[in-house]
């Protein structure tokens, strides 16, 4: 099974994790998250991320979701990017997370691609007129 971790600004990751948990009727494990706030020390956050990664069962790989590329939560992840079997994806939304949780198999590359496609497919103008 591929594992997931959220590293985001403030409470975004916490809220996404809890919302996904509710959607799946609490049958799945909660997705771990790390909140990054303006007052946080970068080294401390890196330590927390490291601890979370160590504790997660990630024998088939890990996907870290972050919100905006180029911002601190994303930049912090640079130190982890050389890890084997790790994918970092920015622009996380609930569609991306739901796709991740409901994904099948252990193919890290395939799941990472599907997550990105799902997130993009869900950004549409909603038209209820018909």
């Amino acid at each position: 099974m591929v594992a997931f971790l959220l590293v985001t600004h403030g409470e975004i990751g916490k809220s996404l994790s809890e919302s996904a948990y509710q959607v799946f009727n609490k049958k799945q494990k909660k997705i771990e998250y790390v909140s990054v706030n303006p007052s946080d020390e970068i080294q401390e956050i890196k330590k927390i991320i490291n601890q979370k990664i160590k504790l997660i069962d990630k024998k088939n790989g890990l996907i870290i979701f972050t919100d905006i590329i180029g911002a601190t939560p994303s930049n912090i992840l640079k130190d982890f990017s050389n890890k084997i079997n790790l994918k970092i994806i920015s622009g996380v939304n609930l569609a991306m997370l739901i796709k991740a949780i409901s994904s099948k198999g252990n193919d890290l590359n395939k799941i990472a691609s599907e997550c990105q496609e799902s997130a993009i497919e869900n950004i549409i103008e909603v038209d209820f007129s018909d």
Partner: protein, 89 residues
């Protein structure tokens, strides 16, 4: 192949939790399953596809099952709709 017309009777329609239950049930069957609304046809074994259908209260959908366990799949999926997805309303 079995085709069944189903009216959505739960107030929230095919929203996220209902879609999650439908996907979980659909994945128990080996047969090919499709849900059709207007001109769109999706695979309910994929939860995001169900959400993209944006099916609401009182919408009518067509359930199509095709394969070895199509009879039981059709019945159980129809029952999930008729049971308001376990939401009571």
């Amino acid at each position: 192949m079995i085709k069944t017309k189903i009216k959505i009777i739960n107030k929230l329609g095919l929203h996220a939790r209902a879609s999650s239950k439908l996907t979980e049930l659909a994945n128990k069957f080996k047969c090919d399953i499709r849900i059709k609304k207007d001109n769109e046809e999706i695979d309910p074994k994929n939860m995001m596809d169900i959400l993209m259908l944006a099916a609401s209260y009182q919408d009518e959908v067509q359930l199509i099952t095709n394969g070895i366990d199509e009879v039981i799949a059709s019945k159980e999926i129809e029952n999930l709709f008729l049971d308001y997805f376990g939401e009571g309303q």
